[in-house]
């Protein structure tokens, strides 16, 4: 975003903070506020400057690293990195946390992937909070995948600093006939609250495959919006969430299907250990003009901690009967007695099973990935 536009947006967002609530969901009293918004109240808003984009060969572990007040980019043919120069597609007035996000923006970066980069190595982007101060560290990224591009994208959200509150907004536009495979890894410092919002727009005849792994934070809220805007779009989303200690992870997935002949499959697996709380709240929304849509949402959650909590709120909203299928299914369960017995006969303990289950989660993700992306996941896999 150019400096003037960015400053205007920051100022506007700042005025919104006191005016709008964290959540605008209208629902019956059964709806709980699964995100502990109070945990975000201890952080200050620091207004950033214009993004500083540096093209260098000294970028480590990735092609693009957005860290602190700096954006470091390798020079790669077919990848254009600059400031966002149009209105954002995630808006500051969506909620208070969105207003905070825009008011405290450090960087607003647009990454365009052109046909020249198509079918090459996976593109790896790291977004990290690196400032050791009690502030919101916000980054806004727009990734534009041009028409007919085939892209493998590794998107890592992580903590390098230990004090700031991670805050990101990522817009991904998958243009006509483009195909994107995304490995999304969120591994943030577990003692500061974090907010992450990934909004994907898919256009005619495109294909989006997302494999996402979320490891917990003190209070981690992850929002994913998958918007199938036009026709003949195929979207497949696999999400794995692991919570341990006292982590709270609230994942909100809003799947919106418009247009004709769109196919959307969302599957989540979660493991709530120790005293953690995981909530998975996927919505499948089929618009009134959608025709022949297929939406399948499922979540399988293991609630295995001594005081852990597992919450599932799968919502379907169907506004037409011209659908092919719309369904959701969830299970919340423990390790079955049969499994425990079997494992114990093999000399393994319950904690061994927990480990095996976590590995199973990674397997689910890995199975969806091409060889070039598997290494990235193995790095975090060993740490669990």
């Amino acid at each position: 975003m150019k400096n003037n536009r960015l400053n205007t947006l920051r100022a506007y967002a700042y005025t919104l903070i006191k005016k709008i609530p964290y959540q605008r969901i209208k629902d019956s009293p059964t709806l709980k506020y699964y995100t502990n918004w109070k945990s975000y109240e201890n952080y200050k808003i620091v207004r950033g400057e214009a993004p500083s984009i540096e093209v260098t060969d000294k970028v480590k572990h990735a092609d693009i690293v957005i860290s602190g007040k700096k954006v470091s980019v390798k020079k790669i043919r077919g990848i254009i990195v600059g400031s966002i120069d149009s209105e954002p597609l995630i808006l500051p007035n969506e909620s208070k946390i969105h207003a905070i996000h825009f008011a405290s923006l450090l960087n607003a970066v647009e990454i365009v992937i052109t046909e020249e980069y198509s079918n090459t190595m996976p593109l790896k982007i790291i977004i990290e909070n690196a400032i050791n101060d009690d502030i919101f560290e916000s980054n806004h990224i727009r990734i534009v995948v041009e028409k007919k591009v085939n892209l493998d994208l590794i998107l890592i959200e992580r903590s390098a600093g230990r004090q700031s509150s991670y805050n990101s907004g990522i817009e991904l536009l998958v243009k006509e006939k483009a195909s994107v495979r995304i490995l999304h890894i969120s591994r943030l410092y577990p003692k500061t609250p974090a907010f992450s919002h990934l909004r994907i727009f898919a256009y005619n005849n495109s294909k989006v495959e997302i494999s996402s792994i979320i490891q917990g934070g003190l209070m981690e809220r992850n929002q994913f919006d998958l918007i199938l805007k036009e026709n003949n779009i195929n979207a497949n989303f696999v999400l794995a969430v692991i919570g341990k200690d006292k982590e709270i992870i609230d994942v909100v997935v809003d799947n919106n299907v418009h247009g004709a002949n769109n196919h959307l499959n969302f599957r989540a697996i979660a493991l709530a250990k120790d005293q953690s709380q995981i909530s998975i709240r996927p919505t499948g929304r089929i618009g009134s003009k959608s025709v022949n849509a297929y939406v399948d949402i499922s979540a399988h959650m293991y609630n295995i901690g001594s005081s852990s909590k597992a919450i599932a709120v799968p919502i379907l909203e169907i506004n037409t009967n011209k659908i092919q299928t719309a369904k959701h299914a969830i299970t919340i369960t423990n390790i079955s007695d049969d499994t425990l017995f079997y494992i114990s006969t093999r000399g393994l303990s319950k904690s061994d099973i927990e480990y095996l289950l976590s590995q199973e989660l990674y397997e689910e993700i890995i199975n969806n990935l091409p060889e070039g992306m598997k290494n990235a996941i193995n790095i975090i896999r060993q740490s669990f």
Binding site: S306, S307, I311, V313, L316, E317, I323, K327, I332, T333
Partner: protein
């Protein structure tokens, strides 16, 4: 009952939009802006004890303080201050249908109630506007010390029993309309089944709203003592008015150890009733509550039968079937709180949306820490019959216990082309085939009803769909 009889109680007939209100003579009408004086007056008319007046006034204070829920759709026209809050018909309470005024007897007859009462019920209570006007108790109930009467009479005749249970499971602070209910409640049915008594035939309470711009706040209580069983049927109807009316009733069910309560509602309000019905049950050890909810009528309906499973091995089954035919909203659901070990619940919700109707399932399954080996199974199916109809499912599943399990699944879809093709190949028209599919979809509810009642409900549904040219 003939088809014409049923048409008489339903608003739909081509070219026939409004039928007249019931010509109920009214002895007292309390209406307008809600005041403390008004609450005191209602309590005085009813000759209630002081504790009930205090409870009403406390609820009234809460009504003023609690915020209006921001998620309710379709109630823009609801203006509480513009309604009559208490209407006492100038009709003496009777125990024989024939003794009622002719217009009322004819109305009950058109609903098939005298026939049902004679054949399949062990007791029947009829409420018109704010007061009971009919209570019939068969000998079997008297002989077995089962109490079946209207709630106002129960408060006078069994004050201790009534006080022990009233407002214990459905608290007035639950939400704004709960507080309103307790400040204005009137009428309803009261049942107490002594230990180990299993009532072989159901009892029924039937509620009628006779005019537009009225409100009805009946409070029904069903108490099944240890090892007892009862099937309670609740029915409701109203003619089509030139304006809306408001129903804000409550049902409290107490299921003691090893007792079993089956509570069936056939809601067939006319399409200008705004219907809130708050239903809660608390279930002790090895107790079992069954909620069966058939929601056919009403303009807007918000109903979530709930069960609090507080005793080991307590069980709940909630089956709801709703039909939203026309520009109406059915917001139904179920809530189950598992707070004891080895409790189990099963929720099945089926909804049909047609002609621009909206059906919403909104539910909660909560498994508390300590509810070891609790299990819950939830299934929601929505059938959309045309492009303009909508369906949504909003289930909340919260598990705080390590050793517990929830399974939830939902589907939404249209009537499959294969099924329609098959039925048409057997000589049915498309509309007839559609009606048949809808009836099949609702079969889960039908099979739980006494034959006579299932038959009436069957015809009511056929009539609903006869507008589409189907069976009827």
């Amino acid at each position: 009952m003939t088809k014409d009889d049923l048409v008489g109680i339903m608003e739909y007939k081509p070219g026939w939009e409004i039928i007249s209100e019931l010509p109920t003579p009214k002895e007292i009408i309390i209406e307008g802006e809600l005041t403390e004086g008004m609450i005191r007056e209602i309590s005085k008319i009813k000759k209630e004890p002081q504790w009930m007046l205090r409870l009403r006034l406390k609820a009234f204070e809460l009504w003023k303080k609690l915020p209006m829920p921001n998620w309710l759709l379709g109630i823009d026209e609801l203006n509480i201050e513009g309604l009559a809050h208490y209407i006492k018909p100038a009709i003496e309470k009777k125990d024989e249908f024939e003794k009622l005024p002719k217009f009322l007897y004819e109305f009950y007859k058109s609903l098939g109630l005298p026939e049902s009462e004679a054949k399949v019920l062990s007791g029947l209570s009829g409420m018109l506007d704010s007061e009971a006007i009919f209570v019939k108790v068969k000998e079997w109930l008297r002989k077995n010390r089962v109490i079946f009467t209207d709630s106002d009479t129960a408060l006078k005749q069994y004050p201790e029993l009534f006080k022990n249970y009233f407002a214990r499971v459905y608290p007035m602070a639950d939400h704004k309309f709960a507080a309103l209910h307790y400040s204005l409640w009137s009428g309803g049915a009261f049942v107490y089944v002594p230990p180990k008594i299993k009532v072989p035939q159901p009892v029924e309470a039937f509620f009628i709203i006779s005019s537009a711009l009225e409100s009805q706040y009946e409070h029904t209580m069903v108490i099944a003592d240890e090892g007892a069983f009862i099937h309670f049927i609740e029915g409701c109807a109203a003619p089509m008015f030139p304006n809306y009316s408001f129903h804000n009733g409550a049902v409290e069910v107490y299921v003691h150890k090893k007792a079993h309560v089956k509570f069936t509602t056939i809601q067939n309000w006319s399409k200008n009733i705004i219907n809130f019905n708050n239903k809660r049950a608390i279930v002790a050890e090895e107790g079992y509550v069954e909620w069966l909810e058939g929601g056919i009528g009403a303009k807007v309906s918000y109903v979530y039968p709930s069960a609090i499973l507080r005793g080991r091995k307590a069980k709940a089954s909630i089956l709801s079937v709703s039909l939203s035919n026309g520009p109406y909203i059915k917001d139904n659901g179920a809530k189950v709180y598992h707070i004891a070990p080895e409790t189990s619940s099963r929720v099945i919700s089926k909804s049909i949306s047609a002609n621009g109707g909206t059906s919403i399932y909104r539910g909660l399954i909560y498994i508390a820490k300590g509810a070891e080996n609790a299990t819950s199974q939830v299934q929601c199916d929505s059938l959309l019959l045309d492009e303009s109809s909508r369906a949504a499912t909003i289930p909340h599943n919260q598990v705080l216990e390590e050793n517990a399990e929830i399974v939830h699944e939902a589907t939404a879809g249209r009537v499959s082309d294969d099924v329609l093709f098959y039925l048409k190949s057997r000589g049915l028209s498309e509309d007839e085939a559609m009606s048949l599919v809808v009836l099949g979809f609702m079969h889960d509810l039908m099979k739980e009803l006494p034959f006579e009642m299932a038959n009436i409900l069957n015809t009511v549904i056929q009539l609903e769909f006869s507008k589409m040219g189907g069976v009827g």
